[in-house]
Symmetry: C2
């Protein structure tokens, strides 16, 4: 319908959101225009503000409104440990445990040959530069990072990403570790998949 | 995280979309900021444009950018028939059949006591005024609309809405009809629910 051009444009724009098809986009557009026009304007403003303000931390690559994010600029954190995660949500999950006091590097993606995502797309070079960067005021030959903890997801893509990073760091003098695989806390063996039990058996301590 | 205020605001604004929870809103925000900033700005503009431009047709109440929508101002349509539907998507479904040449009234909702939606919320008075409106240039006592076709959905709320409208129009001299219930085209009786078969039997012709 040519007469409703602005409505059609809104439906088209909503379809660019991940997981939103034609029907969902129409339902969203109708809902906003019929019941929540203030919400529509609020969303418009939030989108504009976020695209203007949100950038990547120069050290860990996560989203931030400053050059360096608050985690990276926190002097109380252990600067010798660098935990590599896929995205800010994974970083937030690690933070919620309260068990980690080091720094992060957020890949903002994972290697996924099927989706045509290669090392350049997730900025692996930036990670390697970060790992080799010397401590402030220290001898150029001594990098600040002593241990890289690979905390990519335990999916095919996450494992591949971890493997590629581990291979690239071989012989660099940096210790590379991976999150332990094993039986989740609170689960019964009967319901845990065989691969997980096998890994838990091999990695027993 | 106070440092990412604009990101938090974006996630909050996205949660106002129907069917979008915290996790979906975060995924949408990350996707837009990481992979599709032009899409974010396009959506912001489309939201602003639509809230400015889209209004309700004074005759049929559907979304339009003009005072009267193209359907209502189409001189080739039968002005004696008025089809009552719940929303513009239902109207579009009726139009796609190509079997209806009359006009519409779009309720933009349905009676739903459980959700606190009453006759005033879906503008039933506007519908009754529309039905009683005289034809242009005609005697004031003769309304233009001769038949009201109730095409609300065959759900509990849709049936209630149709029933309330039919009751209100009793004795008004306007013929009130309802879309036929029956077996869907292309379906096998074995897989059709009993209520539908019973209705198809009663309404057999």
């Amino acid at each position: 319908m040519a007469e409703n051009q602005s409505l059609d444009l809104l439906v088209q724009a909503l379809r660019r959101l991940p997981g939103v098809g034609v029907k969902s986009a129409q339902r969203m557009a109708f809902h906003l225009l019929q019941h929540d026009r203030p919400g529509a304007l609020q969303l418009a403003k939030a989108l504009q503000l976020a695209t203007e303000q949100v950038q990547h931390c120069v050290l860990c690559h996560t989203f931030t409104e400053h050059d360096i994010c608050t985690t990276c600029s926190d002097a109380r954190r252990d600067r010798s440990q660098l935990c590599v995660v896929e995205n800010p949500a994974d970083q937030a999950a690690m933070e919620r445990t309260g068990a980690y006091k080091g720094l992060y590097f957020v890949l903002m993606g994972k290697l996924s040959p099927l989706d045509d995502v290669g090392p350049h797309d997730i900025g692996l070079q930036k990670l390697f530069d970060r790992i080799r960067a010397p401590a402030q005021g220290a001898d150029d030959a001594v990098p600040e990072v002593k241990e890289v903890i690979l905390a990519t997801n335990f999916t095919a893509e996450g494992e591949t990403t971890a493997h590629v990073i581990a291979q690239a760091l071989k012989g660099s003098g940096v210790q590379v570790t991976r999150l332990a695989r094993g039986v989740p806390v609170g689960s019964e063996l009967e319901y845990v998949d065989l691969g997980t039990i096998a890994h838990a058996l091999v990695d027993r301590r």
